[in-house]
């Protein structure tokens, strides 16, 4: 197989590789290819960074304050659930 064909295979499986979701032999094949392929090393690093950014992203939008009526509606449902147990 050509180097670029191998790059494409690595490219297709890279998230599963980084998430440790691949079988050991597939992992080994990817590591074997990547270590001698600078573009794949760079790309792997860039995907790692993207994943880190996604994990650090905390959607910090604060919802509008819960009004008394909505809170009471939720608490009634909670009390009913507790009473029925």
């Amino acid at each position: 197989m050509s180097a670029s064909g191998q790059c494409r295979e690595v490219f297709a499986l890279l998230s599963q590789y980084l998430d440790v979701e691949l079988p050991p032999d597939a992992c080994g094949a990817i590591e074997e290819h990547i270590k001698d392929c600078p573009p794949c090393i760079e790309f792997t690093e860039s995907l790692k960074k993207t994943i880190a950014l996604c994990r650090q992203y905390s959607p910090g939008e604060i919802p509008p304050e819960l009004n008394e009526q909505s809170r009471a509606e939720l608490e009634r449902a909670y009390r009913r659930m507790l009473a029925s147990r």
């Binding site: 860039s46 950014l53 994990r55 819960l66 939720l74 659930m81």
Partner: protein
């Protein structure tokens, strides 16, 4: 609040511990609101989805067999509330397009995006509040622009850090579908950040 703390809170809620109700509402309402806003696209819808989700959660809380699964259990209810909301909306976002793997692959000669991602990792620059805020906005935009099927997966897997199996159950798809969509979602976010931020934010040393 991490998963262990959520589990403890779920147990307190079931045993009627004082204060557990308000802590639960405060924590999960914010989570559901943010997820729903990105999934429904409208702030007002997100507020309603959060209320409807919490109502269902409290009505059915006794059905939660395993308190350790409280986060995926709440998100499954939130996902369904989002779907109901979308069906009622006249302006429901358009159907889902698939993203092909080839469209996300950078060319080796640099055309179509670089292999490197030359942007700052904000975890390394915690003191720079302006950069952190910009990255938060860019991430929100990049995730928000993904087709819905990819957006849901990246929010549940990477932002909420649910497992592949939990995400598959929430979305009613196989684990292989979750893996495929997650990879494409990440690649699309990577490509988006590369195109928009290259040269804007350089690695801070």
């Amino acid at each position: 609040m991490d998963r262990a703390a959520e589990t403890a809170l779920a147990r307190q809620l079931l045993s009627g511990t004082t204060g557990a109700f308000d802590r639960f509402v405060q924590h999960f309402r914010s989570k559901i609101f943010n997820y729903s806003w990105l999934m429904c696209g409208q702030r007002e819808d997100a507020e309603e989805v959060a209320q409807e989700t919490l109502l269902r959660v409290f009505e059915r809380f006794a059905e939660l067999r395993d308190p350790e699964r409280v986060r995926p259990w709440v998100f499954r209810i939130a996902k369904n509330a989002c779907l109901t909301k979308r069906r009622r909306s006249l302006f429901a976002p358009s159907a889902n397009e698939e993203i092909s793997l080839d469209s996300l692959m950078p060319a080796r000669n640099g055309e179509g995006g670089a292999m490197k991602l030359e942007i700052a990792d904000w975890s390394h620059v915690p003191e720079d509040q302006a950069m952190r805020s910009q990255m938060q906005r860019e991430m929100r935009r990049a995730i928000g622009e993904l087709p819905e099927i990819y957006r849901a997966v990246i929010l549940l897997r990477d932002v909420e850090e649910l497992t592949t199996g939990e995400t598959a159950q929430i979305l009613d798809v196989t684990e292989d579908v979750v893996k495929t969509r997650l990879h494409r979602a990440r690649l699309a976010v990577r490509k988006d950040l590369d195109a928009r931020l290259r040269g804007v934010l350089v690695e801070a040393k």
